[in-house]
């Protein structure tokens, strides 16, 4: 099995597990942990793609809410403090990537004088 096949097999397994969790969560779990979702069914299929992608996070939050471990105060602490760090990291990475990529760009073949690779047709004839 090649590395590419392994990655794709892992992605398929991830999706299958996610589908099973989506089925359980959208039929049983969601009604238990969110009163606003009770008797609201039309929006539920919209949640399936996200559950397929981030099902470990879904399982964790489901467990936190089911067991009453959710801490209300944390809901009001947005991670705004990271704005400055993000800006600085982007200010370093983005120019570095662009400069490096443009610096190693190769000349276009059209700028190179053509080389004759074979004899002219009339001579070869």
């Amino acid at each position: 099995m090649t590395a590419a096949d392994t990655i794709l097999a892992f992605a398929q397994l991830w999706g299958v597990v996610g589908a099973a969790i989506a089925l359980a969560f959208l039929t049983i779990g969601i009604d238990r942990i969110d009163e606003d979702a009770r008797e609201a069914y039309v929006f539920r299929p919209l949640l399936i793609p996200a559950i397929l992608l981030i099902w470990p996070l879904v399982l964790w939050r489901w467990w936190v809410l089911e067991t009453g471990r959710d801490q209300w105060a944390r809901r009001h602490r947005p991670p705004r403090a990271a704005h400055l760090k993000v800006a600085v990291v982007m200010a370093v990475l983005v120019p570095a990537i662009l400069i490096t990529a443009l610096a190693q760009r190769q000349d276009w073949p059209a700028d190179i004088a053509p080389l004759r690779l074979g004899q002219p047709a009339e001579v070869s004839e």
Binding site: D34, A37, H76, P78, V88, M90, A101
Partner: protein, 352 residues
Amino acid sequence: MSVKYIPVQWNRNKWVYDAALLVGVVAFLSVFLFVAPGALSHERPINPQIHNARAFGACAFLMLTLILCIGPLARLDRRFLPLLYNRRHFGVMTCVVALSHAFYILNWYFAFSSSDKYSALLFANTSFGQLAGFPFEIFGIFALLCLMILATTSHDFWLKFLSAPVWKSLHYLIYPAYVAVVAHVALGILQDQQHPTLPVIVMTGASAVVALHLAAAVKEHLAGDPAAAGGDWVHVCATADMSDGYAKIAQLPGGDRVAVYLNDGRLSAISNACAHQNGPLGEGKVLDCLVTCPWHGFQYDVTNGRAPAPFTERVPTYNLRVENGTVMVNRIANPPGTYVEPVPIHQSETLT
């Protein structure tokens, strides 16, 4: 606003926003595909599949750049707040455009071998040890995965289920996604295209994103210096600085922000972070004891932090006092929805 979930919450403003988005996308693709193919200066002839892939790729890059400019622009100048209002739909549409780009690429460059096209995408180029000819597709795959996570978790249910801070942290993926897109473009199409237009457009867009984020972050950093007065009480401002109907925002030790409102001569304090997306409640105006979040219009009673019925959102409240003409707030938040008796502003010293 969250009474019962529905698939998509549309209103007139969102319809207008989405219509403008759709018109913009169609206009960009039309210009790229039909109006100005000569101006794109493809030195080598390209077929319609590649042309389509490039059109959708360029559109996705432009949309992502615009999305990333909206946040810092709104933090720098409130007049850009309307652009923030429906940014989630902007993000979902960007993901759809980026997916279209990916499928055009897959169904042309990787579709005609005996291998599965998804396998071919992963093994066709594995020169990870060199910069020239680096498999730039890997950056595109990473960015696309991030965009898919952001788009699929954009429903309000995810905000409530994950909680706003977790949701916000997850949506910070937009930044590594953008850096990956820049690398994808720089090591991909920029290596092939010699015409100066494309590098200039890419560098201008990326520079705008970086410069705006730096400017907004520096502005917030300079303005957000907490002024602790010792103990649990934090200095907010002088009573003379308060304007009726508006708030002063103070940052508490630990990073939380509190919005202190003057409403009919009396002070009330609630969390500055809206329960919906942590929008800045302190920038909203109070009418009939209700403050409206400037981001998405959620409302809260400033005396108890509760959204008016039938809505159920709640934010924490804070105790206040006025001391020698200074407004002081207690750093310990009350549980969301707790009523706090408003404090008259004209008094020498009051404890609540």
